[in-house]
Subunit: 235 residues, 2 copies
């Protein structure tokens, strides 16, 4: 946070927050209601606006930290969707979200708000070339799974041992799905099964199901390892 602008009302209402920013040297300026409204994109602005640095980090840097769960959003255009997937990925324990290709600006106001803070919880990467990003992720030793609406392996048929490996999920946009040529560069195409008569799941719901399935398998695997280590120590 570089600078804060707030209305008199917001300064009183968020006194503790504003004071803690001041204490670490962030300039705080009082502005009129109309100035705060002009700075905001919402219909009912909260009267508090912060100027922040961009947060994204290079892909090579995050891959160096050996992440266990990564979500790659390919050519995702809808800012609300992007923010919701960020929030979902955070909840599912993904350490990295990659905005790949001609994606929406992750700092779009709608995306930031829909992420409900998760933008600040995980490593955000912007990768202009999705194919190059997938190559780098594979080279770092992660299993790359392409989430598809049709074809591929059923998510429920993936062995838990496979799901427990460090994994990057590729998700396409809701309108166009994942480009075929990119999906083919993954280790496997994986389909979230449709049990009813819906044509498809929305992106955030599909991401929730895929990422939570990986997270559960990874957690079980790490528990099993701990138990076997404990057993070994008991002996």
């Amino acid at each position: 946070v570089r600078e804060i602008f707030a209305t008199e009302h917001a300064l009183r209402k968020h006194y503790d927050l504003v004071e803690s920013a001041r204490r670490v040297g962030v300039p705080v300026s009082a502005v009129s209601e109309s100035a705060a409204a002009a700075l905001s994109e919402t219909v009912n602005p909260q009267g508090l606006v912060a100027v922040c640095d961009h947060l994204d980090v290079p892909l090579a840097q995050v891959l160096g930290a050996a992440p266990a769960l990564v979500a790659v959003l390919v050519e995702i255009r809808d800012p609300g969707n992007a923010g919701t997937v960020l929030r979902t990925a955070d909840a599912a324990g993904a350490q990295v979200v990659v905005f790949a290709g001609a994606a929406v600006d992750p700092y779009n106001g709608k995306s930031v708000r829909a992420s409900a803070g998760s933008l600040f919880h995980l490593d955000l990467v912007r990768a202009a070339d999705p194919a190059a990003a997938v190559r780098a992720i594979r080279a770092a030793g992660l299993r790359v799974l392409a989430a598809t609406a049709h074809g591929g392996v059923d998510l429920d048929d993936l062995p838990e041992a496979v799901l427990a490996e460090p994994t990057a999920w590729l998700f396409g946009s809701e309108a166009h799905g994942l480009p075929d040529d990119l999906a083919r560069t993954a280790h496997a195409a994986v389909r979230v099964p449709i049990h009813g008569r819906a044509e498809s799941l929305n992106l955030a719901a599909a991401a929730a199901v895929c990422l939570y399935t990986s997270a559960r398998a990874q957690l079980r695997e790490s528990r099993r390892r701990k138990e076997s280590t404990n057993d070994a120590e008991d002996v």
Copy 2:
């Protein structure tokens, strides 16, 4: 469908659809672009408006059909959310969605559009009294699980045999969650684990994770039963 209004353009574009409606006796009227716009709620209307009957059925009737997977939306107010959960529940194979308490009108235009057709795929129930609905569902022999953000059993710790039983999931609104007194009338409160630092999941994502977990367990159980029947026949 009782009656259709369409612009000249829409009559040409959706000729097959309009003709099939005419064949089953649905009156079709040509209207002007401005009349079609006035009948629509969207910014870019498609020029095709149908007057339809309400679809909801009484709870007692759907429970009589012994559903295996039911989603109960308690006091859900956001029409977009309601529609998205309908679509998710359909994809996960739920046969019934109950709009309980002071919920949004499921026929709200936004809800209908967000459901992407799923409104027509499953049984829709409207129940004014959520507590009475839960009592009826329990009396019909379903296991009632209350999805909560905090407390309760971790979803991943529920035994698969429990998840495989006929189940009704209770979901609260994103703003207020599930009322405590109602959650206590369920067989168990179940928490979708938050692995990262997000405060919570959005409603559709939480519903996706819960309903898909039940669907997977039910499918595995039915496969196991079939296999054991086959084994018995082999002997």
